[in-house]
């Protein structure tokens, strides 16, 4: 494994994966999400290519987190289609009708997707190691020995090599979130969803967690969909930034462009507010 890059000096990033003929890893087609009468997302269309890291920014309530939750099948999709590697995740069109896909097909796709939550959501009744090996063994059917070995190397990677037997409740927030990252990575996901992963952390540990994620970004080809308020991190790791407001994409583009020269007035205002008017 390559050594972690110095976070203060962003490594020159390779060009964004080409969004050419290859099937997109994630594709939203006419997605609509409503909670009762409240329409959160409307006519949403976008694609994410393999290995691409996309950050969603925008004011709270703009539907960014809902997008991640739809991909993780934590919310019911009320309209349109989501495709993972070209396969329908929740619904498909058959004979002109929108019908739900089978649970089995959905689960097969879901195992390729991992998620890290704002509130960590580790299982408090299990040790750190048990948290990490549960799904690889019982969902992917990996041999226990391999799963444990993998877990130890992941714990090393997130800087907690001696915490395998600890219980999550005995760990600090930053440590818990690092375990949660290891747990998500233990499934070897193709897609990693990061939902405000540093928002619940003390300011002094935010950097550690972000550095681990930077390293994951640098050393793997995992596709990432990121919701964050850490604009520096977003700028460092993402290939594309999408600005959301009112359930729609207001503006999207390369982070350098979005952060230095946003076109849309809404984006300018939002960035001005979160970056403290520079």
């Amino acid at each position: 494994m390559p050594t972690p890059t110095d976070p203060t000096v962003p490594a020159p990033r390779e060009a964004a994966p080409s969004s050419s003929a290859e099937t997109p890893v994630i594709e939203f087609t006419d997605v609509e999400k409503r909670f009762g009468d409240n329409v959160v997302l409307k006519d949403l269309n976008f694609t994410v290519s393999r290995g691409e890291r996309v950050t969603l920014i925008g004011p709270s309530g703009s539907g960014k987190t809902t997008i991640l939750r739809l991909v993780m099948t934590l919310e019911e999709l009320t309209g349109g289609y989501i495709f993972i590697d070209g396969e329908p995740l929740t619904h498909e069109e058959r004979n002109g009708k929108r019908v739900p896909v089978s649970k089995k097909r959905q689960k097969a796709l879901r195992t390729r997707i991992g998620m890290v939550f704002q509130q960590f959501n580790l299982f408090p009744n299990m040790t750190v190691l048990e948290n990490i090996i549960e799904a690889p063994i019982h969902v992917l059917g990996r041999p226990k020995k391999d799963a444990i070995e993998h877990a130890h190397s992941l714990l090393e990677q997130v800087g907690l090599p001696d915490k395998a037997d600890a219980h999550p409740t005995s760990l600090s927030g930053g440590q818990q979130q690092r375990v949660a990252i290891a747990r998500a990575l233990a499934m070897d996901p193709e897609i990693l969803l990061l939902d405000e992963v540093t928002s619940a952390l003390d300011p002094e540990v935010v950097g550690d967690v972000l550095n681990i994620l930077r390293e994951v970004a640098d050393t793997t080809n995992v596709t990432m969909l990121i919701v964050t308020h850490e604009m520096g991190f977003a700028r460092d790791v993402s290939h594309k930034v999408m600005m959301f407001d009112g359930g729609r994409v207001v503006e999207e583009g390369h982070p350098d462009k979005i952060f230095t020269n946003p076109e849309h007035e809404r984006t300018q205002k939002f960035l001005g507010a979160v970056l403290g008017h520079n």
């Binding site: 099948t73 934590l74 689960k107 879901r110 299982f123 799904a135 969902v139 747990r183």
Partner: protein
Amino acid sequence: MSNMTSPHQLLAGEIDAPSEEPPGATFWDWEFAWEILPDMLMAFLQVTLLVTVMGTIIAAVLGLIIAILIMVLPKPLAWIVRWTANFIRMTPIVVQLLLLFWAFLWMDAITIGVIVFGVHYATYMSEVYRAGIESVPKGQWEATTALSMSAVRTWRKVVIPQALRSTIPSLGNYAISMFKDTPFLYAIGAAEMVTLAVSDIGGNTFRYNEPVTIAGLIFLAASYPTALLVNRLEKRLAYAH
């Protein structure tokens, strides 16, 4: 009453009248009390405690099953389970004991007691479990979805272990409650401790003060330490969270 007990043998044998004094002459006879104590303790161990322990086991397991069924079954079936449980919970234990006793005359009173106490308290405990399951944070369920865990693994490894933590004190209190309800077995003539005290010892000797008081003291001696234990457990679980 005398008819009713016929298929169910009472446990106690003949107890001698306490002394040459006429019955009721003394308020409290220590010698007599000492004499009946072993029989009462035997009845306590063989019936009261047995019914409580077996009943608690049935109630704890069945209660969990009811709680889970109500949450996972399709709506109409869940509704049937819920209302059956409500119906059992809202009818008195004595009525249920008598009903089963007369419906299944071939069954002995202790078995009927175990079934009725077990099922009746299962309906209470299912509510405790339901609250426990609902107290498991939504994020835990979401994590199991994110890891594609099966429904069985999710319940077994994540939801039930976490739900149990908060339910154990309440379950303990219901077990104590059941324990104190066992004298209802008197209604079906099971050779439970209070039945022994009143029907046998009292009926044969016309002395009630000693056997009934001793029965009360034995209940107190057993339930008070158990209640303390449950309390301590509750505190420990609370700290550990």
